[in-house]
Structure formats: structure tokens, C-alpha cells
């Protein structure tokens, strides 16, 4: 089965849906590996929120594109180059600081995206956006608190969080390299960028962390289906069961 996406709006939305499902998978990997029981359950729940969000997005995408595929088809039957998620969210769970920093950088981005989409002309999309904003506000409260705690905690927690940030920041530039689709379907792409940097910098400052410069990179854009080296491994685990047993039901 070859999954195709023809409609322009569907093509724009699949980036957001893919970003949700891939980050959800990274959080699902944390199940039973959290630093304490309470945080373990919190991370799993954020993962479930992201899967729910992605499923509703794929339904909207499917409807825009002739209802040819189900959410499961989109998630389990596309290859790496057919995925359009941010590279940021496919970065691995090296340690708890990575999980939190990745979540924090994502949550501000997601909140701005869905704020702008909550006035979309597509009523399903506008309704979904308003609903998920509540989830994202809570997730951001959680990830922001942890950025403060880790940044201001011990020398070790500060060093580890800075290290995670230094890695993850390499995948930030592409978030704001807007193309025609972004400019068509986002109410105000430039505002997304300025708000994101302003808020990230505020939290980093109060957490005794910083945004370090890094050498120029030659990575190609997530909008064209390019990924870091981690994506194939993530998909091989996520898609193993439905690919090995195509008739399995759950």
C-alpha cells in the first residue's frame, strides 16, 4: 500500500500530526523508565495525549484527501522519507534532561501552532485546536517547571540539561524556515518564531541555562521528509508489529 497525500492543506497538517505521533512514541519509550513512579506516569500520559492529538489530525487529513487512508495507515505504513515531523522530536531519550528539554522546546512551538490554527476556516481543525491547547498548556507548565528545577538544581543537573539543549538547538532553525504551505495555513508564521525565541530565552535565563551558538549545519529540511539518523530506528520499533502481522487487530 502506497500512502499518498495530495491535498495541500493535508500536506501541511501531516507535519503537525507526524510531529505529535513521533514525540508520543519517544515518550512511550519512557514507560517504566521514569525517574520516579509519578513522573513515569506523567510522561506516559503526555505520550497518550500526543497519540490522541495525532489520531484526530490524521482523521482530518484523511477527510481532506478523499478518505483513502485510516490514521493507522498513515502511522504504520509510511517509510522514513514519507514522514514530515520536526527532527527535534525524533531525538532520543539520552537521559531525563533530554526528555524534558525536548518537551519544553516542543510545547512552546505546539502551543503557538495550535493557537494560530484555532481560528482556522476548517471547523474540525479549529475545534480540535481549541481542545488540545488545554493539554499543551498543562504539558508546558510541567516541562517549564522541570527546566527550572534541572537548571537550578545541582551542578550535575545543570550540566546535563545544558548538554541536552546544545544538542537539541541544532534542530530548531528548520522549525522556522517557513515554506509556502506554512505561510498559507499559519495565521502569522513570524509571530510563531518571535514568540518562541522570547519565551524559550526567558525560561533559560531564569533557569541558569543558555542558548549556545553552534557551527552551521548542512541538514536538509523536515518539510521534504529528511531526518536525523535516529528516525529509522524509531520507526522500526514503532511499526514492527503491524508490518510483521498486517492482519493483527487491537
Amino acid at each position: 500500500m502506497k500512502i499518498t497525500i495530495e491535498n495541500k492543506e493535508a500536506h501541511f497538517l501531516v507535519r503537525i500530526a507526524d510531529t505529535s505521533v513521533i514525540l508520543g512514541q519517544r515518550l512511550a519509550e519512557m514507560c517504566s523508565k521514569g525517574p520516579m513512579l509519578e513522573e513515569d506516569i506523567a510522561l506516559s500520559n503526555f505520550g497518550l495525549d500526543l497519540f490522541g492529538r495525532a489520531e484526530e489530525m490524521y482523521k482530518i487529513i484523511s477527510n481532506l484527501d478523499g478518505a483513502k487512508f485510516t490514521p493507522d495507515d498513515y502511522v504504520f505504513r509510511r517509510n522514513e522519507r514519507e514522514y514530515y515531523n520536526l527532527k527535534l522530536v525524533e531525538q532520543p531519550n539520552e537521559d531525563f534532561a533530554w526528555v524534558i528539554a525536548r518537551q519544553f522546546l516542543h510545547d512552546i512551538y505546539a502551543r503557538e501552532i495550535f493557537t494560530q490554527l484555532s481560528n482556522a476556516s476548517n471547523p474540525d481543525l479549529a475545534g480540535l485546536s481549541q481542545k488540545v491547547l488545554k493539554e499543551i498548556r498543562y504539558s508546558l507548565m510541567h516541562s517549564k517547571d522541570w527546566m527550572n528545577r534541572l537548571g537550578l538544581g545541582t551542578d550535575e543537573s545543570n550540566v546535563r540539561t545544558q548538554k541536552a539543549l546544545d544538542h537539541l538547538m541544532k534542530y530548531v532553525d528548520e522549525m522556522f524556515a517557513f515554506d509556502e504551505l506554512d505561510k498559507t495555513y499559519l495565521a502569522d508564521p513570524e509571530k510563531l518564531k518571535t514568540t518562541w525565541f522570547k519565551e524559550v530565552d526567558e525560561v533559560l535565563l531564569e533557569s541558569n541555562l543558555k542558548r549556545n551558538p553552534f557551527p552551521p549545519l548542512t541538514m536538509r529540511d523536515f518539510r521534504d521528509g529528511f531526518h536525523s539518523e535516529h528516525m529509522g530506528h524509531l520507526l522500526s520499533i514503532m511499526q514492527f508489529l503491524p508490518r510483521a502481522y498486517p492482519d493483527a487487530k487491537w
Binding site: E38, I41, N45, H142, D145
Partner: protein, 94 residues
């Protein structure tokens, strides 16, 4: 757990006006973390609309080895329940 970590008792209110019910406990280094952990553990299936977290060491309990002195004397005094007189039929259910 590491030092500094505390146990908090969690109380959930289902709806405005109803009493808060004890549901269990959570770990948390401070009030904020305790509240978020309680939210994630005890209200994820719409169990409530409001939450209290109370430091477990702020709760004063009867020491286990004194429980007999506190409670056993009431065991043979069933007459303290007002059930030893007849209620006229006209009163109905009370």
C-alpha cells in the same frame, strides 16, 4: 528516594460542594510538584475537579500502639447508637 523528597496525601473533590475524599499519596519535592503528580496519578480519568495535597507529616494520627486505648472502650457500648426505642410509624424514615 533521595533526601528532600516528601510524601503528600492526596484529596480529590469530585464536584463543587462535595467533600474532599482521600485517594492515596504521591511523592513530590515541593507543593507544585506534589500537585502536578497528584493530578497525573489521580485525576486522569476525570475523577475530580479540585485537588488538595497535604504533607503527610502534617497529618496527626493515633499511634498504632495506642489504638486499643483509643477505640476498644467503645466496642461494648452499642447503646450509644440511638436504636433502643421505637419510632412511631407516622415519623416515617429518618
Amino acid at each position: 528516594m533521595e533526601s528532600g523528597d516528601k510524601v503528600w496525601e492526596v484529596f480529590v473533590q469530585k464536584k463543587a460542594g462535595l467533600p474532599f475524599k482521600h485517594v492515596g499519596n504521591v511523592h513530590g519535592y515541593d507543593k507544585k510538584m506534589a500537585l502536578q503528580n497528584a493530578r497525573d496519578l489521580y485525576t486522569r480519568r476525570s475523577e475530580g475537579r479540585e485537588l488538595w495535597v497535604v504533607p503527610a507529616d502534617a497529618i496527626v494520627a493515633v499511634p498504632l500502639d495506642e489504638a486499643e486505648a483509643f477505640f476498644d472502650p467503645a466496642d461494648d457500648k452499642v447503646y450509644r447508637h440511638p436504636t433502643f426505642y421505637n419510632i412511631p410509624d407516622s415519623v416515617g424514615h429518618m
